[in-house]
Symmetry: C2
Amino acid sequence: MTAAANNPGVRFSLVVLGAGPGGLDCAVEAARLGLDVALVERSELGGTCLNRGCIPTKLFLGATECVHELHAQAKLKVVSGEISVDLPALQKRKEQLLSGNRKALEKRLADSGIALFKGLGVVTSSDTVTVKTENGPMAIGFDRMVIATGSRPTAFPGMTPDGDRVLDSDGILELTEAPGSLLIVGGGVIGLELGRFFSRLGAAITVVEALERIAPWEDPEVSKTLASLAKRDKWTLLTGQRVASLVSKDGQAQLTLESGELLTADLALVATGRGPNTSGLGLEDRGVVLGRGGFVQVDEYLEAAPGISCIGDANGQAMLAHAASHQGVYVARLAAGRVEGPYAPGPMPWCIYGAPESIRVGRMFEELTAQGLTPKVSRSQLAANPIAQSHAMAQGFVKVIWLDGRVAGVTAVGHGISHLVTQATLMVRDSWTNEDAENLIWAHPTLDEALLHALTAEPTDS
Amino acid sequence: MTAAANNPGVRFSLVVLGAGPGGLDCAVEAARLGLDVALVERSELGGTCLNRGCIPTKLFLGATECVHELHAQAKLKVVSGEISVDLPALQKRKEQLLSGNRKALEKRLADSGIALFKGLGVVTSSDTVTVKTENGPMAIGFDRMVIATGSRPTAFPGMTPDGDRVLDSDGILELTEAPGSLLIVGGGVIGLELGRFFSRLGAAITVVEALERIAPWEDPEVSKTLASLAKRDKWTLLTGQRVASLVSKDGQAQLTLESGELLTADLALVATGRGPNTSGLGLEDRGVVLGRGGFVQVDEYLEAAPGISCIGDANGQAMLAHAASHQGVYVARLAAGRVEGPYAPGPMPWCIYGAPESIRVGRMFEELTAQGLTPKVSRSQLAANPIAQSHAMAQGFVKVIWLDGRVAGVTAVGHGISHLVTQATLMVRDSWTNEDAENLIWAHPTLDEALLHALTAEPTDS
């Protein structure tokens, strides 16, 4: 703790509540631009992303990629073998890696001259945050404040995670013993990625999704491919099915569907969504409006009340680490007087990791036709791509959505497809024509060529 | 064979010699632009790339990725297990895949209305190619001709591949039994990629390289990382060592260094380079000049003589499939009157595949300083990248070379780094500033962020 932190009369030009990716990047950028900055974090540096989200999930998927690659080749009898995963060892590695990353973040803050206050911060007056530190409450004055308090797993009534057989994503990421069977409520990104990990560990996976398809926010063709490949891995997919109750009973997770059907498994994961950490922080008293689900309402400058901005999951605009970081940098620049206009993020990349992976950037076909527009679509199939072929995972496609001869959106699904996401983001941001694709030498053989071939394929009306 | 092929008086506006990537793409583009096109191929469609080069090598590396991923995680005790590779089964899969790809190419030609002539084509007059078909010689008239005859492995005297214990890349790609030990002469891309494959199959690898480092055309820091990781895989690297002789003897490959030292192994791979297929084709009689090593000399329009262009490996400009294709499309457009200016390829991406991978695009630091320029360099380390961490292969870096605040070149080395090559090519082509990197939302967590972090790191003088 810095000297400043021991001084109850301390004041900063910017105080950031929450040290997840958004809060951290906001604080570092503000400090770089010359503001004196305090960062308040009640738990660990790195937020959900580093500690209970993207990073441990990707670590689990990366560590077990060998299992998936082996299975794919073994189906073709090209290789044979067995791999066993030591989950306690993986958890230990996770802890080492996360702790190393947290130390790197701590150093980054120190190098930037940012004062870090550990404890829950509550807004107690129009220019004061009071932090409940280990040594008692400490008042920190601010000129501007940024809410970057993130989110936590939420559950619907009747399926509350109990830490026994019914877990949320926080809980399941701490397991040291893999379940033989796993019920997943919610077929979105969290459910799919964690399902893939436990599937590689041998768990029988059942996904219950209330909407009509898994990955319901993705392009319907993408959902279809994801479902087809999940079924090939022997997953049971129950879509359009609502859960009446989910409880731990007799050492099992017992799930009753609204249809009356009873499902049991060793464990259940509730992955139905995330809600913002915005209550009990004194925000409403400062004029901050909490909207539906408790998300902070912000204007086009990401401002929630005079002098108070809100970034990241807490405002619910795009619950992604990179969205939070991008918003954080904008808000820091706004506070430092370096930008003036409203927040304009440009196209936002969305990924689902594991195998297969999927990406989505920009506007999708259905979205555009619903607006009365007449987009066109061009596609390439991974079956024709030599890199996808070499991994014996050639199911999937790249789909480009065009408006007036320019790229409006890209979505894709297949092995390793997340590697195309930055290029796709660039193409959407710059509204490429198919000539733009041609005016570039694309290395051969690469997975990227699937993007080239989709860009240069003849567009059709659907 | 089309009707036209049975007519000895047949004439085409464009005749392409060689159906590798360059010749194929040239022919298809010319046909698309309305020219009547003939394609002459003495062997199989797809050329070296598909049949004896990039594609089978990438298939072998992709099929054994599980072995490499397993080893990396097993070192951390996170997983354990054994994988055995069935090389005959892999060869069978290779044949199926290549034959499927060749059929797809054949269909592409047919769909494009291109006449395919099978047999060696020799230029016999100023407007005639004579093809030695199964049914005897056939004369084909042309207005323009394109030499796209590609290249083949070459060896220095004293180390001629004999098909017994001393093989070239063509021969080693046909093996159905893995050697216990493999001597590789030549530490370039072919030697390294094939070394990695046989290393995964358990072979003890020794590389003999005449120059002072492996991957001698790459950035010295990249070579250093490649060497360090090869040594970690227990490879023996003998750099700055010349081969006096390499022969098959007593069922072994016996290699004598100029120092007098004798090395033996189950097999040896001669991977010292490739030479053009340009002799015996009647080219010199048509005014085509064969330069050093037999490469066809071309002007800035890729023209070798009036009405005769040369693309791809045969001209030696950049011995890469995508370079050949790009040149082929240019030459087709030139022939069709769609372009007029000289050939301007833009930055050329170079990759070495396997593990680790490396990429190079644009101009490198040493190249620029040698020209008296004062480039700057910025870097990021893969050790800080969560995707590299998740694969337990976090050695490597991304290095950006700057001139006057704009990206002049990018090189990188590490796990999966070939996935960055298209983005890097774009950045070099468009001479990015570091603001260009910031004006884009980069998905998190991705390997791509290593590129972002290199782009936004503080540049230094070396």
